[in-house]
Symmetry: C2
Subunit: 125 residues, 2 copies
DNA sequence: TTTGTATTTAAGCAACTGCTTAAATACAAA
DNA sequence: TTTGTATTTAAGCAGTTGCTTAAATACAAA
C-alpha cells in the first residue's frame, strides 16, 4: 500500500495528521476493545454472556441444553471467551462453572441493558 | 444435534426452561445487536467509527490516508457499515461523505468513551 | 466531447471461523 | 480397580472474511 490514495486538492492535511496521531495514541485500546467486540459479535457467544449475567454461573452442559447445541461447540465458544478474558471458571467436582469476569462488565453490561430494553419496550408501531 | 447433552442428575430443569424462554423473547435483539458488534469488532472498522464520531464526516479518500490502507479496502469496510445501518452517506460532487447514523449512537458511543478513558487515564501501574 | 479524479464493484486468494465427529482427559462412584 | 459422567481437545471441512489487483462507474473540469 503506497500512494494509492486520491490526488485531491481539498484534503485537509492538518485534519489528517491529527486523526493519525489520535489513532496512534489509542492503538492498544482499539486492539483490546475490538477483540472483545468481535467475541461478543457472535450471536451464540452473545447469548452465553447474557445468560451468565442473568444466572451468575452456568456449566457447559446447561448451556448446551439451553442453546440446543453440542457440548464441543459450546466448549469451544467458552474457550474463546476465557482466552479473551471475558469469562472465568470455577471447578466443582467434575463440573466446570463459567461466570463473567468483573473487570469486563463495564463494556459488556450495556449490551444486556440494550437487549432488555429492545425486547421489553412498549410497542409503538 | 440430538441428545448429545450430559445425563446429569442435578440439572435444574426449571432454570433451563426459564433461560430458553428469555432467549426466545429476545431473539431479534440478539440478532441485531450481534450484527452491530461483529461489524464493530473489526479493528479497522472500529477505528473508522471512532474517526467519524470525532470528525463528524469523512470521505473514503481521507480514511484511506489516515488508516494507511487502499481505497478499495476502505470502501468495502464502509459498504459493510452502511449495509449494517451504522453509517450513512451524503454526496457532494464526486466525493462521498460518510457519517454515523444517529439511531445507532446509543450502542456505539460507549465504545468511544471506553477508548478515550483507556487511552487518557492516569497511569497507576 | 475528452480527460482526470473519486468511488465502487468484481474476481481471486490466503487466512480465519464455527461447526462436526472422534478421541482424549478429569473426576467420581461402584 | 472398572465404569460412567463432564469436559476438553483435535482433525476435517464448508463457509466467511478481508485483503489484492483490475475493471467499471460517477462526476466535474478543460
Amino acid at each position: 500500500m503506497e500512494g494509492n490514495s486520491c490526488i485531491r486538492l481539498y484534503a485537509d492535511q492538518a485534519q489528517i495528521m491529527a486523526c493519525k496521531s489520535k489513532l496512534k495514541a489509542a492503538e492498544k485500546a482499539f486492539a483490546s476493545l475490538s477483540a472483545v467486540l468481535s467475541l461478543a459479535g457472535n450471536e451464540v457467544r452473545l447469548k452465553i454472556l447474557y445468560l451468565l449475567e442473568e444466572e451468575k454461573e452456568l456449566c457447559p452442559c446447561d448451556l448446551s441444553d439451553i442453546l440446543g447445541m453440542t457440548i464441543p461447540a459450546i466448549s469451544q465458544h467458552l474457550k474463546k471467551l476465557k482466552d479473551g478474558g471475558i469469562v472465568q471458571t470455577q471447578k466443582d467436582g467434575q463440573t466446570v462453572f463459567y461466570s463473567l469476569v468483573k473487570e469486563l462488565l463495564p463494556i459488556v453490561k450495556p449490551f444486556f441493558t440494550h437487549i432488555n430494553s429492545e425486547t421489553f419496550k412498549t410497542e409503538v408501531t
